[in-house]
Amino acid sequence: MAQAVERTLNQRLHRHEQTLFLAGAAAILVLFSIAPWLQPLGEIAAARENSLALLASSRVWMLLLRSLLLSSAVTALALLIGLPLGVLFGRMDVPLRRALWVAHAFPMFLPPFLLALGWFHLLGRQGLLGGESTAALLFSEVGLVFVLGVTLAPIVTSLVAVGVMGVDASLEEAARLVARPWRVATHILLPAASPAIALAAIVVFALALSELGVPMFLRVDVFPAAVFARLGGVDYAPGEAFALALPLVPVAACLLILERRFVGRHSYAVLGLRSGARAPLPLRRLRAPLTAAATIASIVSVAPIAALAIRASRGSGGVATILDWSRRAPLNGVLAAAAAASGISAIGLIVGHAAARRERGASVLDALSVLAFVTPASVLGVGLIAVWNRAATQMIYGTLAILVVGYMARYVAVGVRVVASSVSQSPVHLEEAAAAHGAHFARRLFRIVLPLHARGVMFAWLLAAVFCMRDLETAVLFYPPGGEPLTVRIFTLEANGPESVVAGLALLQVGMTLAVLGLGAFAFLWRRAP
């Protein structure tokens, strides 16, 4: 009798296993990413009159418009740089194109304000190449667009390069019979990679719009700074800050709609899954000038890092001083980022897989994760304090675990979207066949989906880890005492700390990011080995 009941329960459990997995992921998503918004809604209600007055102010809407325009300009510049470079690095016979691509792309894994600091050492009044005019330009809207455009352009480059590498070879070969290589690139490769271009534009726009560190450093007024001011001013007004963040919700929703419209379920290659070994297209006469252009672009990308290195080398005390100033911050950042990336990958596997297979409810979770990604981190930070600073949750709030929660809340979309893109490229037949032979959901997930998309999941982990490591805005509001990650430590030391130490700490961040990426590359190669 008992065995029969157990068998029935097991059968029912197995039947609803996917729903339970998805519900578990949804619970974490709601607790981490959505609950911090519920407290703010109460605060908005409490500060109703001030909030309404604030939203009625033309200054607020003008500031939002200004931020939208600046973000558009950053996106345009990133596309201008990234589109041709993506094609060059992806499919053209540029010498050393992989090395140039790596050099160009690396800065996108660093906190943008570190690169702004590097540009300051380069173009500031007393910078290596600086003077009156360069400093004036750097500390202006032009400087902001330049720094963020150059910093975020590698996102476009890399997504476009991977996109064009994945374009169906037969299309390209047919076109090459009647057209020159550059025409093939502009008329076949780029249109075929349009979902990747759309995704890159959306990601760049979202990152530019939510960026706080660079505009504050370059003294340019932007909307997130206004939200931050409501939280950092004397009359602590979280309700007003949350009210101020509300106009960003429709903006985030628009980005989401655009993503669904232009990217969504399009099957395009990511992670080189469909990139076969094809000969690059010959550039012929254009090879020399375009190689020079690509080289210059790569040099420009790494120039701020070089400037930081030069500034750090001019300080006294050397490496020991820098390590002494870093204290536990590098370890804090890496531990929290690694744990958060693991959680993000796990949720990404469940929700991303469900989204790719169009399971009920998955698209809502997917959308919520994207909304959490594009909403202001400062609001999320205060919401997290309200949710987690309780007697029962001190093991979370008082420790590095709160950083893990914050990172997961903000960057879970990275895992979901990467895994969804990866899964959507493989047919569902294998999973259906396994189900027909009685394999329940967990078995299919771990024995079929995970091995098939191991590279996708690893890439999700790597990307999430790097996003967490470069984060500043989320962590700065609630990092545990003595538990600040290196980005926060650099930010709090930046204004008054010795310049060479700050530059040295920035280089330490560069080194840590390189190490994580190096480990990731090693893992990819290891997975690829037969």
């Binding site: 400093a135 007024d221 950092g232 093991m395 005492p481 600040e484």
Partner: protein, 342 residues
């Protein structure tokens, strides 16, 4: 990868991550520690904490402010966390922010035995706050931009049309500039203070993100002079910038002096260790360290005043009631936000 190893890979990864998470939870909670939130620059406050760690054998876990939200970022975090306080001590860069905590009942009065030698006017009789190591608000003047006969002597010169577009102050929503503006409202009254602020705005004053940024603008010659703190001015002198430090209004209302303040917080998780840290902060050693490293003006007679900084007793200081300045500071915030355009 050899075949037999791969099936166990996920288990190893899982185990490693579990250990990682447990180590994260355990490595940051210890008994022999004290938690301090501070708006004093990290570069100066951290060496003091380290010296305390060495002397008391108590680990200090600190939260520091960012330059842009100086004096208010951690203060607001203290308020946000007030249901379950995380901090034992607040070391404020100025004497008025603690009143915002006192008003909310977040402060535990503590009369430290280490206050001997500190002037009575620089600490609360009930022990809610204790001031030490002070700064003053000064005009930092670029000698290359300002002819010697035209050196500004008063903060009113910020509104002088002669210096249109040539002056700078930090954002008055944050840091010591908020306190300074509030002190002017308390000293001059609403109408006069508003008129002054509107005048300097009409005079195209450059609103920098911080006092450190004001220093950079003046030192680089982007503006002729700016209003900043003595520690920033001292830093500019140390960097060899062509600047002169003017203590303003020496023939009038005097310069605003702001001691840093130590406050013991109510229901802090490590109360006794918190008291020990307060004792150390208000003692002569911390004041000496702040004088040497951060050019703060010692309030004790026995601690030497740093070079390039004048002693508090040598200058005419603005007469201020810090409690009143604190309430003015809160009251004028909506207007200040309008002024700042945020």
């Amino acid at each position: 990868m050899p075949g037999p190893v791969r099936p166990y890979l996920t288990h190893w990864i899982g185990l490693a991550l579990a250990l990682l998470f447990v180590s994260m939870l355990s490595c940051t909670k210890r008994k022999n520690e004290v938690v301090v939130y501070t708006s004093v620059d990290q570069v100066f406050s951290e060496p003091v904490f380290r010296a305390f760690e060495r002397e008391a054998g108590i680990e200090v876990r600190a939260v520091f402010d960012t330059e842009e939200t100086k004096s208010t970022g951690v203060l607001n975090r203290l308020i946000a966390e007030s249901d379950h306080p995380q901090a034992d001590v607040f070391w404020s860069g100025d004497p008025v922010r603690p009143f915002l905590l006192i008003k909310r009942g977040l402060v535990e009065p503590y009369l430290s035995p280490a206050v001997s030698g500190l002037p009575a006017g620089m600490r609360a009789a009930d022990g809610t706050w204790t001031g030490f190591a002070a700064r003053a608000r000064v005009l930092l003047v670029n000698r290359g931009k300002v002819p010697s006969g035209e050196t500004p002597r008063s903060i009113r010169d910020l509104a002088d049309p002669r210096w249109r577009g040539q002056t700078s102050i930090a954002n008055p929503l944050f840091g010591t500039t908020t306190m300074h503006v509030a002190a002017l409202f308390a000293a001059w009254g609403e109408e006069r203070a508003r008129a002054f602020m509107n005048d300097i705005k009409a005079n195209d004053v450059r609103v920098a993100s911080s006092n450190g940024e004001v220093k950079r603008l003046v030192a680089a010659g982007e503006v002729a002079f700016g209003l900043t703190d003595t520690d920033d001015a001292h830093e500019a002198l140390g960097e060899g910038a062509p600047v002169e430090v003017i203590y303003p209004d020496q023939d009038g209302m005097g310069a605003l002096v702001m001691p840093t303040t130590a406050v013991l917080l109510r229901r802090g998780p490590h109360g006794e260790a918190g008291k020990k840290l307060v004792d150390y902060l208000v003692g002569p050693e911390a004041e000496r360290m702040m004088a040497e490293s951060a050019a703060h003006m010692p309030l004790r007679a026995g601690v030497p005043t740093p070079a390039n900084v004048r002693s508090v007793s040598d200058i005419r200081t603005m007469e201020v009631d810090y409690a009143r300045v604190a309430s003015e500071m809160e009251r004028i915030q909506p207007w200040l936000r309008q002024w700042s355009g945020l």
